[in-house]
Amino acid sequence: MNLAKKILIIIPAYNEANAVGKVINKTWQILPFADILVVNDGSIDATSEISRQEGAMVLDLPYNLGIGGAMQTGYKFAYRRGYDLAVQCDGDGQHHPSQIKSLIDTLINDNVDVVIGSRYLGTRKFRSSIARRAGMFVFSKVISLIVRQRLTDTTSGFRAVNRPVIESFSHYYPCDYPEPEAIVLLHREGFSIKEIAVSMSSRKNGDSSITISKSVYYMLKVLIAIFIDLCKEIPYRKS
């Protein structure tokens, strides 16, 4: 692990008062040399106060911007404060801080621009509904075709990126379905992507109980968004 690098862990949080403190605490234990930034996306609970108590830096958005807008705020912050690496990690406890290290190590050792933690790669099993898995399967096939590289978990929000990507994201970051859209964007901008296997907990709140019709609808929306993205001008190019 390279200690000379300035590392920022970005945790977007919307009403995560119950989970975010634990996430921050665990991250501190594992990465005492990293800075932690919680982007409080207009929460109405104690997310902001708890994050501050745990010693994280907190950006308070005055209203709910959505995950894309909140993540970009974190990247803007990282860019302006001169961070070399940024890791995005959910505030709901779904991602395990213990695996941030392997994301960062892969980013540095394999000399890639983006490392994505995948639930579906390797032997680790992640339990989710059939509808969800079918949706993910189609996504990963379509996106793998577009980026000409095998990707298994395109909706994973557990990622590490280097400085040029931080810069790109601070200029433009997709808003509607940021995780899969960002992959296509990064590919078009000329960045290299690598997936590594991670384990994730299923969400504690019953949010992920997606029915088949809902998941098909979601899939269609994201696919359309991706195809529209493909027609857009490329906002930034890796220099």
Partner: protein
């Protein structure tokens, strides 16, 4: 024919006057009024020179009034599309302002903290 010309003509004059008045009172920016003025003018011209519309009606194979409606509808469509782009720009700018606000707020709190630490040391 004359009756309809007068009605349509007065409507377009009314639209032009209202738009002009809104601009004069600074309730409407010129940027957003151009399409309104243009549509008002075109319809006014059509009501003064009905032959123009007759040509269009013949080409489209429609009656006078129908083609007038079609033209008005097209203008409304343009205006609404214009508004959608304006709305998109506004929401993008709004997002950026919100992001900047949160970063500035962070800096302010940081400075405030340091300031109080300094004051505390002095006393």
């Amino acid at each position: 024919m004359l009756k309809i010309q007068i009605i349509i003509g007065s409507i377009s004059v009314l639209v032009l006057i209202v738009v002009f008045e809104l601009i004069r009172r600074r309730k409407l920016k010129e940027e957003y009024s151009l399409l309104w003025l243009l549509s008002g003018l075109v319809i006014l011209i059509i009501s003064i020179f009905p032959d123009l519309l007759n040509i269009i009606s013949n080409v489209l194979g429609m009656y006078y009034l129908t083609s007038l409606f079609v033209i008005s509808f097209l203008f409304l469509l343009l205006i609404v599309l214009h508004f959608s782009t304006v709305l998109s720009q506004l929401s993008e700018k709004n997002k950026e302002l919100t992001q900047e606000l949160s970063i500035l707020d962070f800096k302010l709190k940081e400075l405030d903290k340091r300031f109080h630490e300094l004051i505390g040391k002095r006393e």
